[in-house]
C-alpha cells in the first residue's frame, strides 16, 4: 500500500489549474456572456484555493481573512454584472454575444 500525503504543492497545483482554466475560458469562449461569468468564477475559485492553502501552510489566519473579503467583494461585483446583463436584455431582447458589437469601429 502506498501512503499518499497531500502537500502544499498539490493544493497550489489545483489552484493554478483552476485559475488557468478560468482565464482560458474567458479568452476562448466568447459566445455567451453567462459562460464568461462562469469562467471568471472558476478562476476566482482557483485564487481562493491558493490563498487558503497558503494560510494553512503559514499557520496564520491572514489568508483566510483575505479570502473571505475577496469572496464578499467579488460576489458583489458579479451581482452587479448580472444586473448589467439583465438591463442589456431589457434594451435589446437578447443576451450579448461576441458578434453584436454595434459600436462604431
Amino acid at each position: 500500500m502506498y501512503s499518499v500525503s497531500i502537500s502544499l504543492g498539490h493544493y497550489l497545483a489545483l489552484g493554478a489549474i483552476l485559475f488557468v482554466l478560468g482565464i482560458f475560458g474567458v479568452l476562448k469562449n466568447r459566445h455567451h456572456t453567462l459562460t464568461l461569468f462562469m469562467s471568471l468564477k472558476v478562476g476566482l475559485l482557483g485564487i481562493l484555493f491558493t490563498l487558503l492553502a497558503f494560510s494553512k501552510f503559514h499557520h496564520h489566519f491572514q489568508g483566510q481573512i483575505f479570502s473571505l473579503f475577496v469572496l464578499a467583494l467579488a460576489g458583489a461585483e458579479f451581482i452587479l454584472g448580472l444586473i448589467l446583463v439583465l438591463s442589456f436584455y431589457q434594451n435589446k431582447n437578447f443576451v450579448p454575444t461576441e458578434d453584436v458589437i454595434d459600436l462604431e469601429k
Binding site: 475577496v70 467579488a74 452587479l80 454584472g81 446583463v85 442589456f88 435589446k92 459600436l103
Partner: protein, 491 residues
C-alpha cells in the same frame, strides 16, 4: 486610534457625506419626481458654489491629515506626501465634475438623460475608492481600493439613456475589470504565499535577502508579474484593453473624467508606489516589461487617435498615448524618470480636464457634441470658448510656450540614454499625436459650419475652480516639480 482617524479624516468625511446624501435622496418625499439631485438639496439653496465649499472642507481635512503622516490600521494604509498630493488632485478633478456649477455639468447630464439622485453618491464612492488606492500599503488594500473605485463606475457608465450603447460599454467595462482583478488577485495570492505577508515593507525586506536559489523565488516573480499585468489592464494600456475606446464612446461627456482621468491617476500612483516601494528589488524584471508596454502604447495611441472623429474615442486613444509616455518615464534607468513621468501625468491630465470641461459646455440643437466635425467654425460662433480650447490644444500638442512642451522635453531628457530606437519611436508618435491635436484646431478655426452652437459657459459661474489649473499649466512649474520630488522621496 485617534491618530488613525485623524490621518484618514477625508475618507471618513466623504463616506459619511455620501451615505447621508443617499439617505436624503431615498427618504425625502417627492424627490424622485423632481429634477434636482440630492446634492443640490443637501447644499445651501441656490449655491452654485456649494461643491466649492465641500472641496475646501476636504482640502482642509487633507491639510490636517498632512500633519499626522505615517502607517496606520496595522500596516494596511499609509498617509504620506505622495498620497496627500494625489488625493488633493483627485479631489479637484472629481468634485469639480459632480456639478460644481449646477448649470454646466447638470445640463450636460440632463441632455443625456441622467437625472438620478444617486449620481453624485456614486461619484463620491468612486472617489473614496481612488483615495484608498493611492494610500494602499498592503496587497489586500490594493484590491479593496480598486473594487470600491470600479464597482460604482459600472453603474455610472450604464446610466446614459438611449440606444443601449451605454449598457454595452458598462458590460464591456465589467468584463475587462473582472478579468484584470482575476490577474491581480492571483498575483496577490502568490506573493502573499511566498513572502508570508501582504505588507509592502515586509515584501521589500524579504526581497533583499531572497536570492536566485531561494525556494519559491521564481513563483514570487511570477506573482509580481501577475500584479503588474493586472494593474496595466486597469490602466487600459497597450493591447491589454482592446475595448477601451468602445467603453468611452458609450458614456456621457460629463462622465469622461471619472472614466478616463481618475482611474488612471490613482492607478499610476499605485504603480509608482508598488514599483519603487515594495518591489524595487525586482527592477531588472519590470523595467523591460514597462518599456515594451510603453512603446506599444505610444504607437497604438497616437496612430489610433489620428483618424477618430468621435471626441471620446479620440481622448481614449490619446489617454493610451499619454500613459505610454508616463510608463516610458518610469522605465528609464534613473530615478529622475519617475519625477518626469509624474509631472507629465499631472500636467496632461489637468490639461485634458480643462479641454473636456470647455467641450462639455457646448451643445447644438439641445444635444451634446459628440463628433469633432460638429465644432466647425466655432471661432466665429463662440470666440471665448474656441480661444481657450485652442490654447489647451496647443499645450496638449506640446508646442513651445506651453507647459506641455516643457514637461515632454524634461521627460525626453531623462530617457535620452535609452538609445536611438526608443527616442525615434517616442518622437515619431509624439509628432503624430501633435498633428492629431492640431487637426482639431484646424476644424475650430478655419472651417465653415452652418449649425448654431450654444455654450453654457459664462465668466460669472464655475470659473473659480479653473484658476488652480491655469496656474498649474502656465506658471509655477518649478514649484510643482519640487512638491512631486518631495513626495517621491518620501516613498
Amino acid at each position: 486610534m485617534l491618530i488613525n482617524t485623524a490621518m484618514f479624516l477625508p475618507e471618513l468625511f466623504l463616506g459619511v457625506f455620501s451615505l447621508g446624501l443617499l439617505f436624503l435622496g431615498l427618504y425625502r418625499p417627492g424627490i424622485r419626481g423632481k429634477e434636482e439631485t440630492s446634492l443640490q438639496l443637501a447644499l445651501p439653496k441656490g449655491a452654485s458654489y456649494g461643491v466649492l465649499i465641500l472641496l475646501l472642507v476636504l482640502l482642509g481635512f487633507l491639510w490636517f491629515a498632512h500633519i499626522f503622516q505615517g502607517i496606520s490600521f496595522s500596516g494596511f494604509l499609509i498617509s504620506d506626501k505622495m498620497s496627500i498630493l494625489s488625493k488633493a488632485f483627485i479631489c479637484l478633478i472629481g468634485l469639480s465634475w459632480i456639478g460644481f456649477d449646477n448649470r454646466i455639468i447638470e445640463s450636460t447630464l440632463e441632455r443625456d438623460g441622467i437625472k438620478q439622485f444617486e449620481y453624485p453618491v456614486l461619484c463620491l464612492v468612486s472617489i473614496i475608492g481612488s483615495f484608498l488606492m493611492v494610500s494602499a500599503h498592503h496587497l489586500l488594500a490594493i484590491y479593496f481600493g480598486i473594487a470600491l473605485q470600479t464597482i460604482p463606475l459600472y453603474v455610472l457608465i450604464s446610466l446614459k439613456k438611449g440606444g443601449g450603447l451605454s449598457k454595452e460599454s458598462a458590460l464591456k467595462y465589467f468584463l475587462l475589470g473582472s478579468l484584470s482583478s482575476l490577474f491581480l488577485l492571483y498575483g496577490i495570492a502568490l506573493v502573499y504565499g511566498f513572502v508570508g505577508s501582504g505588507d509592502f515593507r515586509e515584501i521589500s525586506t524579504s526581497l533583499e535577502w531572497l536570492t536566485e536559489n531561494s525556494l519559491g523565488y521564481s513563483w514570487l516573480q511570477a506573482g509580481f508579474l501577475f500584479i503588474v499585468i493586472g494593474l496595466l489592464f486597469k490602466l487600459g494600456l497597450a493591447s491589454l484593453n482592446p475595448w477601451g475606446p468602445d467603453i468611452s464612446q458609450g458614456v456621457s461627456n460629463a462622465q469622461m473624467p471619472f472614466l478616463l482621468l481618475i482611474p488612471k491617476i490613482s492607478g499610476a500612483i499605485l504603480l509608482v508606489r508598488l514599483l519603487f516601494g515594495a518591489f524595487h528589488g525586482l527592477h531588472f524584471l519590470w523595467k523591460p516589461l514597462l518599456l515594451s508596454v510603453a512603446l506599444i502604447s505610444l504607437v497604438m495611441g497616437s496612430v489610433g487617435a489620428f483618424s477618430q472623429t468621435n471626441i471620446r474615442r479620440f481622448f481614449s486613444y490619446m489617454g493610451l498615448f499619454h500613459m505610454g509616455f508616463f510608463l516610458l518615464g518610469l522605465s528609464s534607468k534613473e530615478f529622475n524618470g519617475a519625477y518626469a513621468g509624474l509631472l507629465y501625468l499631472f500636467i496632461f491630465s489637468g490639461t485634458t480636464l480643462g479641454f473636456l470641461f470647455f467641450w462639455t459646455t457646448l451643445s447644438t440643437n439641445d444635444r451634446n457634441l459628440d463628433k469633432i466635425p460638429q465644432v466647425k467654425g466655432l471661432l466665429k460662433k463662440q470666440p471665448v470658448v474656441a480661444g481657450i480650447l485652442c490654447l489647451l490644444l496647443l499645450s496638449l500638442a506640446g508646442l513651445p510656450p506651453f507647459a506641455g512642451f516643457w514637461t515632454t522635453l524634461y521627460l525626453m531628457s531623462t530617457v535620452i540614454s535609452g538609445g536611438s530606437f526608443i527616442i525615434g519611436i517616442s518622437l515619431a508618435s509624439a509628432l503624430i499625436s501633435a498633428i492629431g491635436y492640431l487637426k482639431i484646431i484646424k476644424v475650430i478655426c478655419f472651417e465653415e459650419g452652418h449649425e448654431e452652437i450654444h455654450s453654457t459657459f459664462s465668466w460669472t459661474s464655475g470659473w473659480i475652480l479653473l484658476i488652480p489649473f491655469v496656474i498649474l499649466f502656465f506658471t509655477a512649474q518649478d514649484f510643482f516639480l519640487e512638491i512631486i520630488r518631495e513626495a517621491l522621496s518620501s516613498l
